[in-house]
Amino acid sequence: MANVPAQKKVADLVNGAAVAAQAIRAQVAILKALRTIFNTVNPSVVGTPLAGNLAALSASIDALDTQANLAVWTAMIAAYVPSHQGNSL
């Protein structure tokens, strides 16, 4: 643990949360786009891993989307300091 003031230790988690939130949002956006295309094509899911799971998967994508866009994550992204390299905790 580095001998630095609390503000820099806090920035470790803020930056980590910001980077993760941006990555999660990007991945959720990909999932949502895939779902849209899938629904348009509407292939048969019989005998595939999606059989019986399609509704649950879609609901989970929506839940991820909701969580990833909570204000707390947006606040972490806004507070991100690129030149803080971490290693303070």
Binding site: V4, K8, N87
Partner: protein, 162 residues
Amino acid sequence: MASGNTLAIFTPLGNEPPATNYATIGSRNGHPTLQYDDTTGWAAIFTAVMPQTYSNTTGITVYIAASAVATSGTMGWLVALERMDTGTDIDGDSFAGDQTVTAATVPGTSGQPLTLNVAITKGANMDSVVAGDPFRLRITRDVANDTAVGNTEILAVEIRET
């Protein structure tokens, strides 16, 4: 030389970086900077010769002009001198103890320079540098005490006679 007169000026491109934990060269709107990490104590080193006009009456005052990424928190520095007289083996470092530039609040606008200073008394605190001595000046960010998150960036350093 009279008190307050300039003895030396250093700018980022004059840095002679240490082997490890060195401040990195940056650029901010075309201004060369020396970038300092906020957690690891990076350093920059400059070499000069103490002018013959230096009177060694009281000592020197080192002024450091720097900007910060942050718009809150404080910025502080550690300054050390190393005399390079005939008794010095330059194969090893022999800096005097760090002198602390008290951390002060950074400007509310990122990019505005903040000039801080520390008076260093003659003698041991200056590694006994006198007129005509080659010497090195080391500036380290005081990461243990300043609170600004993100890089701080040295723009220029001035040494004046105290």
